[in-house]
Subunit: 191 residues, 2 copies
């Protein structure tokens, strides 16, 4: 499983065997069960999660008591509440496993030490944040530009495997639909 992490790092920076041996102990490996919470609203956000296998999601509970999913992380993605993580603040988000998952966990102090000891990891994380930022800028454009139905169409077209893999009620929560409404749209699409 860790071989995949090494391959992922090597897409961005060269990693020797010795480097990798020294980098791995900065992380904890954990298996999380489906629906297990890794972070809950109100807790200080100290952890950054990397998905080796499986899928996590981030959500908040809105005024009506409904779970609103804002983000998914599948293989080779990082996820946390970045503002709360950087400043050691309480988070307003939950992070939960969508499927049984294998993840790496690092805390802020260890991430800082890792960056100090391996300055090339600055380059790695620069790429990670740059791409995540670019993706969220595009997401913001879609939120302005597309109706929820168009956003769903786009998702089906661009990431069909993702739409197949994620339970429909979570896709609905991500799109801000009720599950019933999503089901109606899917019926319409098929007919």
């Amino acid at each position: 499983m860790l071989d995949n992490f090494r391959l992922h790092l090597e897409k961005f920076i060269p990693i020797s065997d010795k480097d990798f041996e020294e980098i791995v102990p900065f992380f904890k490996i954990k298996t999380v069960h489906k629906k297990e919470n890794l972070q809950t609203e109100g807790a200080i956000c100290r952890l950054h999660f990397f998905v080796l296998e499986g899928c996590l999601r981030k959500f908040f509970i809105n005024d009506k008591g409904v779970e609103q999913t804002t983000e998914f992380a599948i293989e080779n993605w990082w996820i946390t509440d970045n503002i709360a993580y950087e400043h050691g603040l309480p988070t307003c988000f939950y992070i939960q496993a969508v499927e049984k998952s294998q993840i790496l966990i690092i805390d802020r102090e260890n991430q800082e030490q890792l960056l100090e000891q391996f300055p090339k990891m600055e380059r790695y994380f620069r790429f990670i944040y740059q791409r995540a930022y670019a993706a969220s800028q595009m997401r913001i454009k879609y939120l302005y530009d597309f109706t929820k139905e168009e956003f769903y169409e786009q998702l089906c077209k661009k990431q069909p495997e993702f739409v197949q893999r994620i339970p429909q009620y979570l896709i609905a929560s991500f799109l801000g639909f009720s599950p019933e409404y999503l089901s109606e749209i899917r019926k319409k699409k098929r007919s």
Copy 2:
């Protein structure tokens, strides 16, 4: 003006006089006039802009022909279409000066060379993208959680100087209001 850029860099990394002398030539300094376009839809996105003084905005033109502002950059902020910039693709955004502004411009090749020659700039840009990503994650939460009116309230409360500074029709374009509707809300607020 460049002293402010140095002070800004020094918030993230130590910069010697010699470093700074060598870093500055990677950038062009430019004065842009109010409403001058720095980037237009359809053009290959090659440039990354840093605001020394003034304000830029990013917008796209939607199906109805209306300008939809998705982002502002004031002093010490970077702005570009990050996906298009990283991959050298045509952009779907305009970038325009809101006020007469003084900016630094770097292109992708120069930014890559800067990072190679000054690896500590990896740390600087890691911070820049990390914070920009964190801010855009919070923005996405607001887009899900707040009505447009609540988002405006929030903006007035958290960034009153910004709301004062930016022309109201652009605040309206950012919020997805018509200028008339924003004017109504402001009247209601005052009464």
